[in-house]
Amino acid sequence: MYPHERSLVERLKDKPFTILGVNSDSSKRYKKAIEENNITWPSFWDGGRTGGPIATAWAVRGWPTIYIIDAKGVIRFKNTRGKAMDEAVDTLLKEIENE
């Protein structure tokens, strides 16, 4: 998970793109995870539990859960991982370039 996300962030560092996390760990564990895994992208901290307010509002019941949102704020993909995630993001980047 982390290495793939790191490489995606690295590859698209000059593009209109971000990973935005919603983290459900305790604050201690979360801070440790950020340090140990070199996580450079921002995250909401959801109160230290899986039933936190953001996860609840988004009806998340399994972790990780991924939503890919386009530049206009529309949900375009759900639970797209690995290579498919790269392709999905590239598709959305092309849409921006073609406008």
């Binding site: 935005l20 996390g21 909401f44 509002a57 988004w58 949102i69 206009k72």
Partner: protein
Amino acid sequence: MKAKELLIMLVVTAGLVVAQTNAKDKIADQISELIETQDAAVKKFMDEVRALPREKQREAYQKGYPQFDDTIEALYTLAEESPAEAASLKAISWISSHNRGKELKPVIFAVLEKHHLDHSDLSEVILSFYGAKGENTQAFLATVVEKSKTQDARGAARYIQAIQIERETAKTAQYKALVEKLNTEHADFEVRGRKVAAMMKATLEAKEKLAIGKSAPEIIGKDVEGKEMKLSDYKGKIVVLDFWGDW
């Protein structure tokens, strides 16, 4: 009737009642003992696994988890031998919760339908069908919804019917109808202390709001340092929203 005859009759009747009560207790005891023995074996095993170094726990867990098959068979036998006993319900719940998603034997559904359709503990048995999909289970749940006189048993049956199809996209309409029915007829039905009808409805509405093609709802929250953040801060960018945890 002479006094002596009356006395004999009373004694004989009392003796029969005692014998019946004993047999009843015996079945209940046997069922409890089987369950307690197995549960104790699992607890002992888990304690042993937890005492191992962390990297060895998974392997030990997969390799040595206590077998359930003999206990399940013994409980089946007792339940089949004493179908009308309420203690059989306890045996049946236990089998179903430890049967790795396999549905119960057909004969057990017949027992439940014939002897326990209106029993107040039937809802607990039905909740143990959580992971067991199968034709006989589905037929039994439909029977409970149609015929049981116990409100919570019908609620449990509709709840399990819903849970079993929740992830099947082809049955979305059926799932929605069940959630509606749970909200109109079983709003107070609880699973582990939680009113599930309202929860399922809220989840359903959230999912519809979060479908592909819909505008992402705003998120206003904080980072771990307490600094406020908003999803809309990132408008104009593609966002991979990642619900994650380091576990």
